[in-house]
């Protein structure tokens, strides 16, 4: 005979809150503890962790715990015991979706955990005591289901790390502003989907360094424990000679040299005879008539000699622009 922490708990509700132990024999579970990960969305005064079910398949027992926060609800923790296990077996398990494969419930990591860069949403340990009385409730294959307000784990046994650290860094670029055309013009066709976020890297962990590229200076403010990123013309690696793509493989559209699809300075009429816009006027002088035809984007310059004294021989020099 020996006394100790586990032994003390065989005859009381602990690790569950007293009054929530339902039909579970008190000596079946003698200790447990859970850690909610950084993405847990768990609030200690709102949510709880509880034992949802105990399933027997053959000679195995499965203890399924769930937390009722929105991000943890579908990610139970499944502990496994053999019915012949000795007292006070402790097992540490990460959360994950559970599937029944043959006679065995299996916990697998799928896209849910991948979205969290491989880190389990939450994890925990379970120490079981004597299982004999539990087996009288589950003499064969079957499941004991418990209501959410039954078998609630003592709140102090749940450590909540929600938002308590940076679990990973992800790097992306928002799309650049791209040239658009008016409705009556041929639309630009881009060889990729525009307007979104272009992901460069996901789940950066461990030591991460920042490197100043073009026109950037990075400094450290030790007083405020801060990194300062400053836009400095010519800073860092200086001025770029070409445009910097926002994702690998970014290319300009047809008929453009530039990634945003714009036109070069020498591709656009910006001035006539050195006079710039935005409005430029053609004034007809003596002997000239200027007619505009907006629907065909045409200006007709007609040297019709109107208002001039005309000789017998006339030279026709009408031009349309």
């Amino acid at each position: 005979m020996y006394y100790g922490w586990f032994n003390e708990n065989t005859n009381r509700a602990y690790p569950f809150v007293k009054g929530t132990t339902a039909n579970l024999p008190k000596e079946a579970i003698v200790d447990c503890g859970f850690v909610v990960g950084v993405l847990g969305d768990y609030e200690a005064d709102v949510h709880d962790v509880h034992l949802e079910s105990i399933t027997r398949t053959g000679s195995n027992l499965f203890f399924q715990f769930i937390a009722n926060s929105s991000t943890l609800f579908n990610r139970p923790i499944l502990f496994t015991r053999a019915i012949t296990d000795e007292d006070y077996v402790t097992e540490y398990i990460d959360s994950g979706p559970i599937t029944l494969i043959g006679d065995t419930l299996t916990q697998t990591f799928t896209q849910i955990e991948e979205a969290a860069c491989g880190e389990a949403a939450w994890y925990g340990f379970l120490t079981t005591g004597r299982l004999a009385s539990l087996l009288t409730l589950l003499p064969g294959n079957g499941t004991l289901n418990f209501e959410p307000d039954e078998l609630i784990v003592e709140p102090a046994l749940v450590q909540n790390l929600t938002n308590s650290l940076i679990s990973s860094l992800n790097v992306a670029n928002s799309d650049r502003l791209r040239v658009t055309t008016s409705d009556d013009c041929t639309q630009i066709e881009w060889p990729f989907e525009t307007g979104g976020i272009f992901v460069d890297a996901r789940c950066l962990e461990g030591s991460v360094a920042f490197r100043p590229g073009f026109n950037v200076e990075i400094s450290i403010d030790t007083t405020n424990n801060a990194l300062l990123f400053s836009a400095v013309p010519g800073g860092g690696e200086g001025q770029p000679c070409t445009q910097v793509p926002i994702f690998e493989g970014e290319e300009p559209p047809e008929d453009s040299l530039f990634l945003e699809g714009g036109v070069a300075c020498n591709e656009v009429l910006r001035s006539i005879n050195g006079q710039g816009g935005p409005r430029f006027s053609f004034f007809p002088g003596t002997g000239v008539t200027i007619i505009s035809v907006p629907e065909s984007n045409t200006v007709v310059v007609d040297a019709d000699l109107s208002g001039l004294v005309v000789c017998d021989t006339i030279t026709d020099i009408t031009e349309t622009v």
């Binding site: 020996y2 006394y3 032994n7 065989t10 602990y14 200690a44 005064d45 709102v46 969290a116 860069c117 005591g129 004597r130 102090a156 450590q159 938002n163 940076i166 860094l169 790097v171 992306a172 670029n173 650049r176 502003l177 040239v179 008016s182 013009c185 950066l204 991460v208 360094a209 920042f210 490197r211 590229g213 073009f214 026109n215 836009a231 793509p245 945003e260 300075c265 020498n266 656009v268 009429l269 910006r270 001035s271 006539i272 005879n273 050195g274 006079q275 409005r279 006027s281 053609f282 004034f283 007809p284 200027i290 310059v301 000699l305 208002g307 001039l308 004294v309 030279t315 349309t320 622009v321």
Partner: protein, 272 residues
């Protein structure tokens, strides 16, 4: 097989002892305000950066709410939890200055209603009066980078996205950095380029659809009796309109600049 050892329930057991406070805590402050045994029956404290000697540093009572502050040997107001005096909870969740979870205080059987009898005000405690038992304090050192704080005070943690926009481009790379051992170790590098967004001014349009795509004139198509041709701007985007004597030795056509355009006219005797 272990033998059964009969004892009371966990919370019941703690009702009559100082737990979760240290046995040496008096639970009485200098003004004589007392936190009786059993008001709190359990706790789990894990404030990030918390130091030794975590204790209840202040209890603020208002007409509607009670705020419990915990501190330690370094920071008196490390984290706090607030609960309503109207609907009394059994757990008081503690949050730090950045709203990060810092632990939970567990009460039972509406014993938090003791604070209804406290007058409105702030009640300070010393560590010798309300220090918690070490077993409920989980060391959570503030090592590594736990979050980003922007200038406006917003805090980011967990799965953080760094997104370059408005002319800032972020890219990643892996570089091998030599270690003292002589081996090289891979490091993730985030490169920052500030290269501008040539069309950025269009973003400034409010509302955004106020901007109308311009149709630039790229060429001038000249149609005349001898055919047609295109004029493209020079490297400065300029086109010159001028006359020449190539077609006729005494070309009467004149083109002259005005302040905002050109006048095209014929030289000759006016009828008037």
């Amino acid at each position: 097989m272990a033998e059964e050892f009969f004892n009371s329930e966990w919370r019941k057991q703690n009702e009559t002892i100082k737990y979760p406070f240290s046995s040496k805590s008096s639970l009485v402050n200098d003004a004589g305000m007392t936190i009786f045994e059993g008001v709190f029956v359990d706790a789990s404290l894990y404030a990030i950066g918390g130091k030794d000697g975590t204790y209840i540093s202040r209890i603020e009572v208002s007409f509607q709410t009670v705020t419990i502050w915990i501190g330690d040997s370094e920071e008196k107001f490390r984290a706090s939890g607030t609960f309503s005096l109207v609907s009394m909870p059994e757990e008081v969740a503690l949050l730090d200055a950045f709203d990060r979870p810092a632990g939970v205080l567990v009460s039972a059987d509406a014993r938090l209603n003791i604070f209804q009898s406290w007058a409105v005000g702030a009640y300070d405690f010393k560590s010798s009066q309300t220090e918690f038992a070490a077993t409920v304090c989980i060391p959570t050192p503030e090592v590594g980078v736990r979050g980003f704080i922007l200038e406006d005070g917003s805090f980011f943690a967990a799965d953080v996205w760094l997104i370059g926009e408005d002319g800032v481009v972020l890219t990643t790379d892996v570089v091998m950095v030599p270690q003292r051992s002589g081996e090289s170790k891979p490091y993730n590098v985030i490169r920052v380029d500030i290269v501008g967004d040539p069309l950025f001014r269009r973003r400034l349009c409010v509302p955004v659809d106020l901007f109308e795509s311009p149709n630039f004139i790229k060429q001038i198509r000249v149609i005349h009796t001898g055919g047609e041709f295109f004029c493209s701007p020079d490297e400065f985007g300029n086109i010159n309109l001028s006359t020449s004597n190539q077609g006729t030795p005494n070309n009467p056509l004149r083109i002259r600049n005005t302040g905002n355009g050109v006048v095209i006219e014929m030289a000759g005797k006016s009828q008037i």
